[in-house]
Symmetry: C2
Subunit: 151 residues, 2 copies
DNA sequence: GTTATTTATATCGTTCGCGATACAAAAGTA
DNA sequence: TACTTTTGTATCGCGAACGATATAAATAAC
């Protein structure tokens, strides 16, 4: 049995598990407001910059538009966002927050702190987190470059 | 705009993105053999210990059995594993590798190295990886504890 | 100005991932 | 033994993710 095949040596499995479990920690907090985690991410993007085309949202979240389109359509049905044809470019669909979407920012104020509590452990300190962020950002940049190259 | 809502301050988004992109790096290598990444994870588990009940596989991968059951059913259809009723406990379904499943280990020998190449970056060195693994393992353990508690 | 190419979004099909639920086998209890 | 509870697996439904494909609008090429 090759050492590289051991599950305990897999970086990807760790990321995959950490990502899923951390998302699960968000779930009760978000579903109380009828949201899923990817929908919450779209909200984060729009709270930073309202009225963006689908493509910009997808790029910001490193998702394909065929993932974001139905996601945003569901959010439109819930009255969280509106979708309108772009004026400059008629191909674009501009996604904007409704009042309800804006107000969710207030309703979800406690979410970051609550999730922070669920994840708090001795390996995550103000000293270690920046290095962790740096490593993940570096990995993500590297993967983006390599994945794009194969297209 | 609260600082905690900024996408660039989100650990979960980084993990989510890194996990997805790294899985995408596996994809061409795995799909060449008709496999998906979660199916590859099941293989890793069975290569370590053949003939395990669905529940043990699910626990090892931190997945629910209702995720693993259809996953393994698809692998059975492909002739990679067999599913047989347990002898001690008639409720269990024991999942075992077929010859084809065993041989995939040889066919996929180069996968870990190839993925390692796609992810190689200056933040991932023999010095930093152990700390990264430790942090992720610590986070995962913490999340498991907290998620279980809410049940 | 017409044609070819690219770009932005959408639709379709398949696989995950998981909450909710169902059901039979096993274990515990009266 | 009869009854209750727990456990292992499966089914159902829904929301991601994403490859493949379609379509219209914008851009480039000629």
């Amino acid at each position: 049995m090759k050492e590289e095949f051991r599950l305990d040596n897999q970086l990807c499995f760790r990321l995959y598990t950490a990502s899923r479990l951390l998302t699960q920690a968000y779930n009760p907090l978000l579903s109380a407001h009828g949201l899923t985690y990817p929908q919450y991410l779209v909200l984060l993007v729009l709270w930073e910059n309202d009225a963006q085309p689908v493509n910009d949202i997808a790029k910001r979240l490193c998702l394909e538009t065929n993932t974001v389109t139905p996601l945003v359509q569901r959010m439109e049905k819930q009255g969280i966002v509106t979708r309108a044809k772009g004026t400059n470019d008629a191909r674009q669909i501009i996604v904007s927050l409704t009042d309800k979407g804006q107000q969710l920012q207030t309703a979800l104020t406690d979410v970051p702190l609550a999730v922070g509590g669920a994840i708090a452990c001795k390996s995550l300190t103000p000293e270690t987190v920046p290095a962790l962020f740096q490593t993940l950002d570096d990995m993500i940049a590297q993967l983006k470059k390599n994945l794009k190259r194969d297209t």
